[in-house]
Symmetry: C2
Subunit: 411 residues, 2 copies
Amino acid sequence: MSVDTRYSLDERSLDRGLVRWIMKSVGNPRISVRLWNGDEFRVTEAPPVACMEFRSRRAVFKLLRAPSVGFGECYSEGLIDIHGDFLAFANEITAAVTQRDANRYYIPRLKSLLHAARPNSLSRSQHNVHHHYDLGNDFYKLWLDERMVYTCAYYDTPAATLDEAQVAKLDHVCRKLQLAPGQKVIEAGCGWGALALHMAEHYGVEVIAYNNSREQVAYARERAAALKLDDRVTIVQDDYRNIHERCDAFVSVGMLEHVGLANFRTLGALIKRVLKPDGIGLIHSIGRSFPNPPDPWILKHIFPGGHIPSLSEMMSVFEPYKFSVLDVENLRLHYARTCAAWLASFEAEADKVADLYSEEFLRAWRLYLAGSSAGFESGTLQLYQVVFAPRGNNDVPWTREHQYPRAAESH
Amino acid sequence: MSVDTRYSLDERSLDRGLVRWIMKSVGNPRISVRLWNGDEFRVTEAPPVACMEFRSRRAVFKLLRAPSVGFGECYSEGLIDIHGDFLAFANEITAAVTQRDANRYYIPRLKSLLHAARPNSLSRSQHNVHHHYDLGNDFYKLWLDERMVYTCAYYDTPAATLDEAQVAKLDHVCRKLQLAPGQKVIEAGCGWGALALHMAEHYGVEVIAYNNSREQVAYARERAAALKLDDRVTIVQDDYRNIHERCDAFVSVGMLEHVGLANFRTLGALIKRVLKPDGIGLIHSIGRSFPNPPDPWILKHIFPGGHIPSLSEMMSVFEPYKFSVLDVENLRLHYARTCAAWLASFEAEADKVADLYSEEFLRAWRLYLAGSSAGFESGTLQLYQVVFAPRGNNDVPWTREHQYPRAAESH
């Protein structure tokens, strides 16, 4: 009897010790812990922002073996539960990990290089795109804005709604490109076509937009026809590597993340080939403040084949082809807010998501959206818009005042 | 007799052949050639923009041995003369060379790495700075604007004069830094103090400004006292590596070019140490669109120890310390115009320059100013302003509208 009790006590303190070790390894966040055996504790004095419940010992072992993948899978499967505000939990964990990693540079950089060594072939890219973007338009309609823009919005005024901020983003991109009626624009990775349609409708340009996702292409074509823009907007279901038309402007919003570092030069060479010498280009991409491989759980379950580049890594699109980088803007706080807005809409439709797919899918996507918002909020993730021009193109704006129409109007 | 003639004819055609070869190696510019023997010819059909006179065969040999250093030294010494508009000549040669080099990437990149391997020690930096900036304030007063700003101006309106454009630049930098009264600013490499004094006078901040140049420091201190700003502006005659004060804003305009690539990380570590976690920084530097070593003549005669970084190279200031790059603006066309304005003032004072120094000095500096303007005009040179913040600083502006006061006013 006494042996049993002692054994049970030891086991209990071993469990607690392992979980303490896990919490320490993510920077001792202000998160209280509840174990399957009813044991509850904190790892810091500060009041907790949420409670993390380990519902079985298996969750502890999975986290010990692979922290990111382990947590993602355990949360998705329900082996771990979060009590309290999920976004606050994600922000707290991300901030603590970021703090812990403040001085790590060489190991992530090396991992980033190793990760980058695997290029995405045409068929692999097709598979990766299919995995994420062909989940079904009905799913994305549940929580995206009315135009189905699945990239960082631009909150040009603090009171802007997500819908308004997505339109502001489309206009911000168009102003940066200084579009003029009659110009030909190539878009690489056009999503559901919102930017292509906006450019054609409001800036009078002709657009050829490429996309590998069957579902998105079908939707974009339908919308182009409905808006009677199909004479000026051509949606091509193909890989960016097969772009061949010449253009006055080249734009890609939210595709570079899927290109893979090993193919950045391929993309640069392609732009060099298609963009006219007096043209202009814009690449909008999630980025890092230093080279760092993607989160392993995101890579395994959400975005296979992706790579989130640092600015120095992004330069391998531009420098080998001597593009002149004109303007880089970092919109990371806008993306934190965009993801938080998506998460709120997503939660409001949680029952429908669970019906469409499964409880596990719902939880995985909750984690992905909240984790992304937390990544941008903490500075783990950045959002870069890079404007560039072929070398020696002097037909570029002298200032960026045209990007701020209230300034331009007052002239 | 016939032998002599044949010999003379051969010699003449040999000279012409060598010069043709030189002109071909710089991309066959629209420049006519005149030789010491009276021979005149062109290398293209197009009408020449200027005439290049080789005044002795020695000039040909010097150019064959080392094109850039050879040309610079021959022109300075008067072995080569340029007839016609000197800036037009510089623009034409630079454009032709740029065109010729359109597809060269790996060789300049390799050379850039080799060049960067030689770090500037403290004493070497002191020597390099002395070489250029201690030429005497009277010399720079002849052709700089009234505030003695020796960096790229910002022509926010097309009609701006150099004086106005330099003030606009100072304000543009201050707006990017979002200075608020009472803040402490560290400036690394303050020139004659124009920015430090402007920040203290118009933005109510306290400035500690570092500079290695004895002559500039003396002038800046005098100006601070005259403007009764010496209680808020401290000019320190020391290397940037000895900065130790903590600050709300870190700014460096036109110093990075002298730091040398091997010391970029040293600079980044320094900024990390002195900039508060909620601070902001700005580095303004001449740049390249791809890694490329400095021009050998410039390195030998004008700016010893310099390195002009590409954006990917510049990132080694920021990425190892996880700074978040917020904003990059390329002002290359502004610098082409600034250098052209300097050249015009310089030419107007040519006699005084020759009296102060020598005819050779006058010619070397004419070539440097015209060549710099041509470099920015052609896209061989870029001018980057990079705004950055410590990782996780969320107290940064949501948009860049505040940089455009006409936009901010109309709110």
